[in-house]
Symmetry: C2
Subunit: 373 residues, 2 copies
């Protein structure tokens, strides 16, 4: 059941992700997992302990590189994703990020007034975020072309929620208060964030990131009108502002609004190459709705990994069937791997995607991707 | 700007809610707010402190009655909603509920195995939940027909999440683990919950509840397939099992799946009278999609109440316009009132709904509801 580069069944694993994101034919559906590097892996916990703090792990390129590569040694993944945190950007803007195991991320200097926002500047990534770019360069060197590297950032709106709330939130009372009482200040903040994220992702591409994902973790807490005006609008600007070619290849951009199933059509029309879909939307519906404009990434509930292996394989099959034949699907979870996941169960998922999708992509005459339109 | 029974502009406020839920013409759009009795009110905090614990408040009919009535003394609300908690039902099933200010609800004996589930029985509401029914009877007596009383319960799935997780959850790893690994046990639990909730709501109706709301707080964390199989299916059974008449009047049933905007059509076809809608769906879209099958309740983001009064009125107008003319709209928030809300701002919302909607419901010749189809 193992499917590895060594056994010859994957002719070109390094290309699979980038091709699928551009809706080009592939031999098997590529697969990776959000938070594939993380606390569910004992080897991650070992390095994390050695680092002393989460931020130390993020800011030390050798350690960030090490944990980025860890899941690739265990699983036959089709992508590496930079180990970092979306809040490094507001930290570089001077808000003072502290990561607490218990309380989550917290900013020492959250933004509360128009004056706080007016003081913000766009950080030079090669200066205050150099540690991330060094990690990107190091990871690319270590990967040596075997697996593509995905870079990422938080969406302008999602970053703003943490910057105004001062940390995680359930109700988003402060930022929504600002949105309703003083929208001009919030737009000013989102504009700075947009420029910061665009510069940061541009620098990641220059440093070697081969695909980019924009995480809009909290776009789904907005009304349709406010989602358009305060989140999607700024993501569109980020997408438009990126030079999406490096080394003669297109750098695909993936947008993911968690809980944004209602807005797939608008996400697909944003100029991105692919849209992430969580498990609350069927991939078959999602595919029909985006009408071949973009690739789709998703959408297994990470909780399925708590089930026995047979059930995991069955769910992989259901999701592959839901997307159906043809190019443009990247298999993923609809959210990050849970902390208490058995790593062996993620291996079952990854191998099942390759094994079961090979049947979809190979036609009777043995040619890969011939079914693709 | 005050609109009160005393100034004669509301001919029949006591009927407004029940008529709107049955899509009958009204003079003004009725309005109430989820968690209208709660911590944002100083008089609530005073009684809560006197009670010593949240559960004491729920289990003492006089105190439950008092806090139920508090918001009606402040605001021109068109409904009272029983002050209680959805977790009184699993508590009556023997799970041992503790309410902690910091950690939220916790069960002393959560359900972890098939044997735990097999031991569960359906409680007799007039026995172990008698304190709720006594509160209902007392509130009805105090209201004396001036304002209708809404009873409620948690959906079988939502109750099950707390019973299996042992409290609140973000990832729902345990219950989804059960769902994927041992669905038969989960279905057994949902069946017991369905019978318990049906008996409990039936007893509330008999005690005097004039409308019923079923809160499916966590249906939105499921895939479409699992939502149908593990949540909606059982809500449909509850609806079908209720005797929906009391004192010669129909007792309308409202279903509310938070984050369930994708499934409005299916909710509308469940046999209920009205569907709750959160702010992530436009009411105009929702109305088009349910096609006159049911009334709609919602859908202002409670965060709007952090805005200045003028902005709150503007948002009320937007939501009234979004629903449009005709019967079948109950104005509400899309989630409970936030703890740090200024009570004066809720008053602004309630009065704006009445004032601005009177124009919708009254035609040129001054007759109420004449536009209604």
């Amino acid at each position: 059941m193992n499917v590895s580069p060594a056994d010859g069944r994957i002719p070109s694993g390094s290309d699979r992700l980038l091709r699928a994101l551009l809706r080009q034919p592939v031999d098997m559906t590529p697969v990776w997992a959000m938070r594939q590097a993380g606390r569910y892996l004992p080897e991650y916990r070992e390095v994390r302990e050695r680092a002393g703090s989460f931020m130390r792990l993020c800011t030390t390129p050798e350690l960030a590189c090490e944990v980025t590569l860890q899941p690739l040694r265990r699983f036959h993944l089709d992508a590496a994703i930079l180990f970092s945190d979306i809040l490094t950007v507001p930290d570089a803007m001077g808000l003072g990020l502290r990561m607490s195991e218990k309380e989550g991320p917290q900013f020492e200097r959250p933004l509360r007034t128009a004056a706080d926002v007016a003081r913000l500047g766009v950080p030079d990534p090669e200066d205050s975020l150099r540690y991330v770019l060094d990690a990107v360069r190091l990871i690319r060197r270590e990967l040596a072309g075997r697996t593509p590297l995905i870079g990422f950032a938080g969406s302008p709106w999602t970053l703003a929620t943490y910057m105004v709330e001062g940390g995680s939130s359930k109700e988003f009372g402060r930022i929504k208060g600002m949105m309703y009482a003083d929208p001009a200040t919030l737009h000013r903040l989102l504009d700075v964030n947009t420029r910061a994220v665009t510069a940061y992702l541009g620098a990641q591409i220059e440093a070697g990131a081969q695909a980019i994902m924009l995480f809009d973790t909290w776009g789904g807490v907005l009304t349709p009108r406010d989602y358009r005006g305060f989140s999607l609008h700024y993501m569109r600007q980020v997408v438009a502002g990126l030079k999406r070619e490096a080394g003669g290849r297109r750098v695909p951009v993936i947008l993911f609004t968690k809980g944004g199933g209602a807005w797939l059509e608008e996400l697909a029309a944003s100029g991105c190459d692919a849209v992430g879909v969580d498990w609350t939307t069927d991939l078959s519906d999602a595919r029909r709705r985006v009408g071949g404009q973009v690739a789709l990434q998703g959408n297994m509930d990470p909780s399925v990994l708590h089930a026995p292996p047979g059930r995991i394989r069955q769910e992989v099959q259901t999701i592959l069937d839901s997307y159906g034949p043809g190019a443009g699907h990247v298999f993923n979870l609809g959210h990050g791997v849970h902390q208490h996941t058995d790593p062996g169960h993620l291996a079952v998922m990854v191998d099942a995607v390759h094994e079961l999708s090979a049947r979809i992509h190979v036609t009777g005459d043995g040619k890969a991707g011939a079914r693709d339109a």
